[in-house]
Symmetry: C2
Subunit: 345 residues, 2 copies
């Protein structure tokens, strides 16, 4: 008996692949039950001006005026695939984006709601710093924790009341995300309870439970990062030095497409529209695409480490064999799907 | 890597073997968090007359007066070990008790707080029917569900408010337990969230997390039951017919004694005194002894089946190899420890 397959079969048999939709935010007690069940829930109604003012305030004009000439950090890639497996010089790498500083006005001018514009441009910009760019854990500890988005803090609550009360803790990080359909987040999982609210546009999530991670063909990939050298304005992938540890990542670039995942995987597709909030439980795998210019906020809360919760996620992760992504035999299909995905964006 | 050993090592490393003590009952939200962590908690203060009137009312005189000449079902064994592995005629059996009908007065007269009396008597009586003897699931469904202990229902709330609210359900069963130090519950686990309140005397729990079940040497044993035949008043063990399925049970009769469990097991010892309540999470293994004449109540709630909770308990159970208890090689020590335990009671 393969333990990972046994667990994922049983999990699917018991839970299916449906998700609940709440018409209004849960109470703290309801959310505590939700974290115990640990399945994704689409939450409507966490979008009033009293809850998340950003929803009603954040026009381009407002954002540009508030942020003025402040520099913000934006990820740049040639293909919209930051933090993804990328071919370069006959090898596959885990590629981090180039980070550029610019004003909000300059950044927003680089986004487009028009598919042809997105497809035709040589570079894709994505505000995805995800380091607690609005509020970080130091903020909650009362330490000086300046944010690049200080002028926008009035529009974003530093915590989600029903979540903080349920988990008896404050967030570890609150992030702002701004991008367009040119940017895709490759499939990965985080050890956080995640509250994800869309402010403008829409996000398409493809989700897999922690139990189905074994279907994702994780590999070890050497690290690389995009750079812009002084003598050429074009972005180039730069393999990192050999002492940079390799990165464990899924080799499945487009899990949202039909027929790409093995039949043992049961993906859940959830579109989060403007004003909707997704509860994405700790350890769930997610791939994220977006429609047009999309703005989102997320609150990351540390998961409950006591009891079996963390042990189980570790177990599902540890039991897997994770080969070197450049040494896997018979992986021609895998490599060509990665190349296709990279070039199609 | 042995998956069961890996999980139990990690679980112990993260959780240790301590338990929390609350000085007053939790709120529903606090209890919801407790079920997510799923570790035992000793709760003080769930014992006021407004909460559990039995605590202040249940003298022997009161119980006898209230119950009058009503017949109650009591378990009888020669050794106080109902539902336990028992040697008979050169073989080991899972032995169920004989059930006798008697009045409360007659039953209470068979119990003793005196150790010499307990040790010297040929039979042990234990009110342990555990079928929802006070309230069963039909009761909550509004169906006619008479209880042998109808006259005592006024003294026992049909649900635990903070538990029902946290779990968003009513109990599956509420049980009354009355016995003395002659009765021992052999180690086992239940798929229920268990709220266990001691009304008189004290109960000594030896607990193991679900992850350490692999240390308990579970075996399959043929089924048997004590009977009192018409021609002899003595109880005799009667093997059941061969179409009665064998019972899976731990072969460790006295896990509370030092040195009996393998070193990979980390038992938690909790004494629940009069007025104390134990939260015993679903799937936790428990062995229970008692001090003097002991009265207890327990509320069983169905565990949350959605998500990973049930899958994980099944996994820990299914992965184990469970041999025939009468066919295990080199089990002389095991058998003699069972025989010793059986004879020492």
């Amino acid at each position: 008996m393969d333990p990972l397959r046994w667990i994922s079969d049983e999990y699917y048999e018991l839970n299916g692949s449906s998700f609940d939709v709440l018409e209004s935010p849960p109470t703290a007690l309801e959310f505590a039950r939700m974290t115990h069940i640990s399945r994704p829930v689409l939450i409507k109604g966490f979008n009033g001006v009293l809850q998340v003012p950003a929803i009603e305030r954040w026009t381009d004009e407002y954002l540009i005026k508030k942020m003025g000439s402040s520099a913000i950090s934006v990820a740049v890639t040639p293909n919209g695939r930051a933090d993804a497996v990328t071919p370069y010089d006959g090898k596959l790498y885990f590629a981090e984006p180039h980070i550029e500083q610019m004003t909000m006005g300059s950044f927003l001018s680089k986004l487009s709601p028009i598919e042809e514009v997105v497809k035709g441009r040589p570079e894709t910009y994505y505000l995805q710093s995800q380091n607690g760019n609005l509020y970080s854990s130091q903020f909650y500890e009362g330490l000086d924790a300046p944010s690049e988005y200080e002028p926008l803090r009035d529009d974003v609550p530093s915590e989600v009341p029903w979540c903080s009360e349920a988990l008896d803790r404050r967030p570890d990080a609150v992030n702002l995300w701004i991008g367009d359909s040119g940017s895709v987040s490759s499939i990965h999982s985080d050890p956080y309870e995640n509250i994800y609210t869309v402010i403008r546009g829409a996000k398409h999530f493809t989700l897999l439970p922690p139990t189905e991670g074994w279907c994702l063909k994780e590999r070890m990939y050497p690290h690389a990062a995009y750079t812009r050298s002084s003598d050429s304005p074009a972005l180039e992938l730069q393999p990192s030095s050999s002492d940079t540890p390799p990165v464990r990542w899924s080799s499945i670039a487009e899990p949202h497409l039909p027929g790409v995942l093995p039949s043992d995987a049961h993906p859940i597709h959830i579109t989060v529209e403007k004003g909707d909030t997704l509860y994405l439980p700790a350890g769930w795998w997610h791939h994220v695409r977006q429609d047009g210019v999309t703005i989102a906020l997320n609150w990351w809360y540390d998961m409950e480490m006591r009891g079996m919760n963390w042990v189980l996620l570790s177990f599902l992760r540890t039991l897997k064999d994770v080969p070197d992504g450049n040494e896997v035999e018979d992986n021609a299909d895998e490599v060509s799907s990665i190349i296709n995905a990279t070039e199609s964006e």
